[in-house]
């Protein structure tokens, strides 16, 4: 695996990814859930039960770049108005951190 062409490319930044599940389809919604991956660290995860921000807007103001905005879905089928499943308001953000800033 070590000689795979996709590995070991010289880059000077690492990505941090913040995924927010909001209470609305708007960035102004409150944070209802989240996940965080830190490309700077051996341990990718940050295991804390305290939400990082109250809203999506607060994350934006703090310098997170939104890279994915949830698509609005029609109700899939007649009679499926009460069907529920995965969370829909998933907003993905990133920060690119310089290796030297680590």
């Amino acid at each position: 695996m070590s000689d795979h062409p996709h590995r070991g490319l010289a880059v000077s930044t690492r990505q941090q990814v913040l995924v927010l599940y909001l209470s609305s389809t708007s960035l102004e919604g409150n944070v209802a859930g989240w996940a965080f991956y830190n490309g700077l660290e051996e341990d990718l995860y940050y295991d804390d039960d305290t939400p990082p921000y109250e809203t999506g807007v607060a994350a934006l103001k703090d310098g997170w770049r939104m890279i994915s905005y949830p698509t609005l879905h029609d109700i899939d089928r007649k009679g499926g108005e009460h069907d529920l499943g995965y969370f829909k308001n998933e907003f993905v953000f990133e920060k690119l951190i310089s290796e030297s800033a680590k």
């Binding site: 995924v19 599940y21 909001l22 209470s23 609305s24 389809t25 919604g29 409150n30 944070v31 209802a32 859930g33 989240w34 996940a35 965080f36 995860y45 295991d47 039960d49 939400p51 108005e81 009460h82 069907d83 529920l84 499943g85 995965y86 969370f87 829909k88 308001n89």
Partner: protein, 276 residues
Amino acid sequence: MTTQVEKNPTKVEKLSSVQMAEFVSDGYLRFDELVPQDLCERALEEIREGTFRGDIYRFFGKKLSEVWQNSVMSEIVNLPRFAGAIESLVGPDPYFDHYCAHQVSPGEIRHADLHQDAEFDTRFNAFDIQYSIFFHDVTKEMGGTLFVPGTHFRPVRVFGIRRYHHIMGSVPSVAKGGTVIFWHHNLWHSARSNRTDKLRTMFKTRLNPSVPQVQLWDTSDLQDPQIRSILSRGQPWMAHEQRAEIINRIKLWRALTGDPEYDITGWVTRAERGTF
């Protein structure tokens, strides 16, 4: 054939209608320190001795009373409040499905483990229960099962929800020894990291109903006004889909009570009237 239940009828303390509404709304009921400490210690000893090793599905289809007759587990499920909860939710002497003694080693890290056990089970007006027994104290550092209240109406593909690392409103099972949680088979849940130097053990069992799940509990408080507010309440994660959640609860409450006209603010009744 005379079953153990018929020979030794257990005095049961059934759930109330308010408790059943809590179950329909949140998908679980928690009873702190329900199992006495001496029974907990004997259960842990049986687990250590290997009583529960082997095929965890080997009792599928048997009645609960036929399983573990010589084990402390039989004494535990016959405790009046334990037996009453089981009978209220899935009827007298339900069918045994499977069990598992879940153990998380000292220092074992579980980052992304959120899952649902049985999305393939398409029943709506019926459900299995799983009960989780925490035989010893579980601190926050020790982890314990995390439940996401109200998610039992959301079928997903088992580990398809692993990306949800944190959900507002989640409840970790920080508990004293002897605590039991009875939960709907489709409630989202997760094992958590054990950041202590002690082994964590939780014993889970799944039961299938033996009779139609209609008014199996103590219904003397069926008109309690709390029921409406319990069935109407939201969860922090529900976002703009809260109405659909409540409608699903109304449908299940109708099935469990046998009352086809139960409603909250007319949401189901209005649609049933159709168009003219």
